[in-house]
């Protein structure tokens, strides 16, 4: 057997060993057709399921973006998808308050601000003739929209203190265009924003508690003095105006509310400020 014969023999042996005929070829055909059918069904199912989900996500994102709910939505999505990888640094605890603050799970006022200026509530209420119109301005029934940043800060103070730092740091395209508008997350890990947040939180807690408007005014003044260009300046000024109403300082309240009513802060609290000013006149 020559060397070339070896290869020829090898080729012939392979050729004869595998002719392509097999008894189970029908079975293989059936397997292929089943696999094709399954693949096609999977593809259709993918379209049926994934397309609406993608559309929903798209529409939802657009809606959230346009209505300013994007941070809330993002936070919900991030919590569902467990994006909460890094624990945020804990903001410094606020200093000693005039009295023990109530432990509230939701310190941010979700209810309208107007009821807090009802004549019965203030520490030293203004006279009835002035307080009555303030107490119930007809347009104040709907809850004023809390700015996203404040809402975020409120959420940040809840027990779930785990928001990824990669979360969007700017609020959605809100109508507030003033440079001092709280448009960023209040809980960045830097030390300065934390101090700012703590200062604002102290005043805000006093304001929301509603029983110490003078202490709240003082705390807001401290905050505004320390952070004249802070992120919560509009909210602080507005809340301070409400506290001024509570203590009967209508002039200060008017002065503080006028920029809001004028639109200096965009649409932020504009309507409420107008209503309050109207009621104060």
């Amino acid at each position: 057997m020559t060397k070339s014969d070896i290869l020829e023999q090898a080729a012939r042996a392979l050729r004869e060993a595998h002719t392509g005929e097999r008894e189970g070829s029908g079975f293989t055909r059936a397997r292929i057709m089943v696999a094709l059918h399954r693949d096609r069904r999977r593809r259709v199912l993918r379209w049926v399921v994934l397309s609406p989900m993608a559309s929903l996500l798209l529409v939802g994102s657009a809606w959230a973006q346009s209505t300013g709910q994007w941070p809330v939505v993002w936070k919900a999505v991030a919590s569902v998808l467990a994006f909460t990888g890094v624990e945020r640094p804990k903001p410094p605890e606020p200093g000693p308050t005039p009295r023990a603050l109530p432990q509230r799970s939701m310190p941010v006022p979700q209810a309208p601000e107007a009821p807090s200026v009802a004549p019965g509530e203030p520490e030293s209420p203004p006279d009835e003739s002035e307080a009555a119109p303030i107490a119930a301005p007809p347009e104040l029934t709907p809850a004023p929209q809390t700015p996203p940043s404040v809402r975020r800060s409120a959420r940040a103070r809840r027990s779930t203190r785990s928001v990824a730092p990669s979360a969007p740091t700017s609020a959605p395209t809100s109508k507030v265009e003033a440079p001092a508008t709280p448009a960023t997350l209040p809980d960045r890990p830097e030390s300065k924003p934390d101090a700012e947040l703590a200062s604002f939180r102290l005043a805000h807690d006093l304001h929301v508690a509603g029983r110490q408007p003078r202490a709240a005014i003082a705390a807001y003044d401290d905050y505004l003095a320390a952070f004249p260009n802070g992120r919560f300046v509009p909210e602080a000024r507005y809340n301070r105006a409400l506290d001024s109403i509570k203590v009967g300082d209508k002039a200060a309240a008017r002065t503080a509310l006028e920029p809001f009513a004028r639109g200096a802060y965009g649409d932020y609290r504009r309507k409420e400020a107008r209503d309050l000013l109207e009621a104060l006149h």
Binding site: I6, A13, L14, R15, T19, G20, R22, T28, I32, M33
Partner: protein, 203 residues
């Protein structure tokens, strides 16, 4: 769908030049396959499964693994047929697809053979042999072991050119490699295989 259109147009132009209607039928079959018709896949299987199975068996050297490879080729066909330009026959295209999917099948067949050899027993054969058949089986086993030592490209070249008796140009078309490369692969394949068979004691 543009590929399907091109294939059909090419078939029609061939037809006007006197190409037999079988080519037109094939072009239509390819077009239907490209459109995703399940029935067309069945027809292609009926036409070509033996050729693809034979090639797969010769390449991997194991009938059951060849059957798996065949299954994989035809399951993937609705996707891969989009690449078919009509420049070669459908059979050549299917062979090329089989080569593309063969790598891990060749490995698994090789592993299986090595395992069988280690266990010191022969795999059961479909045809029980008289003496000549036993000799052939022994030769085939040695051949498969020798083929397992070749790189896949050279193994493909040997199977296409020497076993399936394709020309180097056809083999180059099937594999998508240049013809010169194919000749080089075949040269090295023959050389290594010869040496390997001699090592196996076949002279």
């Amino acid at each position: 769908m543009m590929g399907a259109f091109n294939t059909t147009m090419r078939a029609l132009s061939f037809n006007s030049g006197g190409v037999p209607p079988a080519d037109v039928g094939m072009a239509q079959l390819v077009t239907r396959l490209q459109k995703g018709e399940a029935q067309a896949l069945g027809e292609v299987y009926d036409l070509h499964h033996e050729a693809v199975r034979a090639f797969a068996g010769r390449l991997v050297g194991d009938p059951s693994i060849a059957e798996d490879l065949l299954h994989e080729v035809f399951v993937a066909l609705p996707r891969t047929i989009r690449r078919f330009q009509g420049n070669s026959s459908l059979r050549s295209f299917l062979t090329g697809v089989a080569i593309n999917h063969a790598r891990h099948h060749v490995r698994s067949a090789s592993r299986r053979r090595a395992a069988v050899q280690r266990m010191g027993r022969e795999p059961e054969r479909e045809t029980e042999s008289p003496e000549a058949s036993l000799q052939r089986t022994t030769f085939l086993q040695a051949l498969n072991r020798a083929l397992d030592r070749l790189p896949l490209d050279q193994r493909v070249a040997f199977v296409l050119c020497d076993v399936e008796e394709h020309s180097s140009a056809e083999a180059a078309e099937i594999t998508g490699a240049p013809e010169g490369t194919m000749r080089t692969r075949l040269f090295h394949a023959r050389k290594k295989l010869r040496a390997a068979l001699e090592q196996e004691g076949i002279r």
